[in-house]
């Protein structure tokens, strides 16, 4: 897989998402791949967008932490998940998307390396109204 600096994904970000990724990885690069992101291609209601993120792993190499950011919300952070050997590296929740944007996932693996993936969500009605 191609190795990209994690920051390059979010270089066009409108918020602090690139800084959040940098703080999470400590400036290390993250390899693209290994993360499955399930989000609707078009979200009619940005207030509640279903999202499933799972990180592939093995018994010896598994995800310990997972950062999820959105690159065009007023604030970049969505959530940080902490896994353990007694949990599966997978989470399903509902998120807010202010506008059409990329959702970026960065996972820290048990060997200290990082992997990343991103998905674009098109939003019809924004979810940060008011």
């Amino acid at each position: 897989a191609a190795v990209l600096p994690a920051q390059s994904f979010a270089q066009a970000a409108k918020n602090n998402s690139a800084d959040l990724i940098k703080a999470f990885t400590g400036g290390k690069t993250a390899a693209a791949a290994k993360i499955k992101m399930d989000l609707p291609e078009i979200a009619e209601n940005g207030n509640t967008v279903p999202m499933t993120v799972s990180v592939e792993g093995t018994k010896d190499l598994y995800a310990t932490d997972l950062l999820i950011v959105a690159d065009a919300n007023p604030q970049g952070g969505v959530m940080t998940v902490h896994f353990s050997p007694e949990s599966v590296a997978e989470v399903n929740t509902r998120i807010r998307c202010a506008e059409t944007q990329n959702i970026i996932a960065v996972a820290k693996m048990s060997d200290g390396s990082f992997v990343t993936a991103q998905r674009e969500v098109k939003v019809t009605i924004g979810g940060c109204g008011g």
Binding site: N47, T48, V49, T52, A70, N73, P74, Q75, G77, V78, M79, T80, V81, H82, F83, S84, P85, E86, S87, V88, E90, V91, N92, T93, R94, I95, R96, C97, G127, C128, G129, G130
Partner: protein, 111 residues
Amino acid sequence: MSDAKPRPRVRLDKKEVKKGETIELKTLIQHTMESGQRKDASGNTIPRKIIKQFTAELNGKTVFSCDLEPAISANPYMQFRIRPDASGTLKLTWLDDDGSKIEHSEEIKVV
């Protein structure tokens, strides 16, 4: 919204598993998850009030947790799977911005 403590709804797909098998948890809690971005009718920012952390502990040891941001939808839903090593009490905790905690426990069995 009333000031009563929200009652979480928790569903486990099974409460008894063999070692190595997973239990899927679906949780939902009533909460406005006020983002701190919105303004009221007179233009004042409505202060942020969200559930900032969710934790699942098995016999006192954290097995799954997440730090939440305002980008999580109102009435946060969380679905995840655990692979318990031992029988015991699974304690779920939702931590509000104001410091209050909402807790829920389930007994699970590993056979």
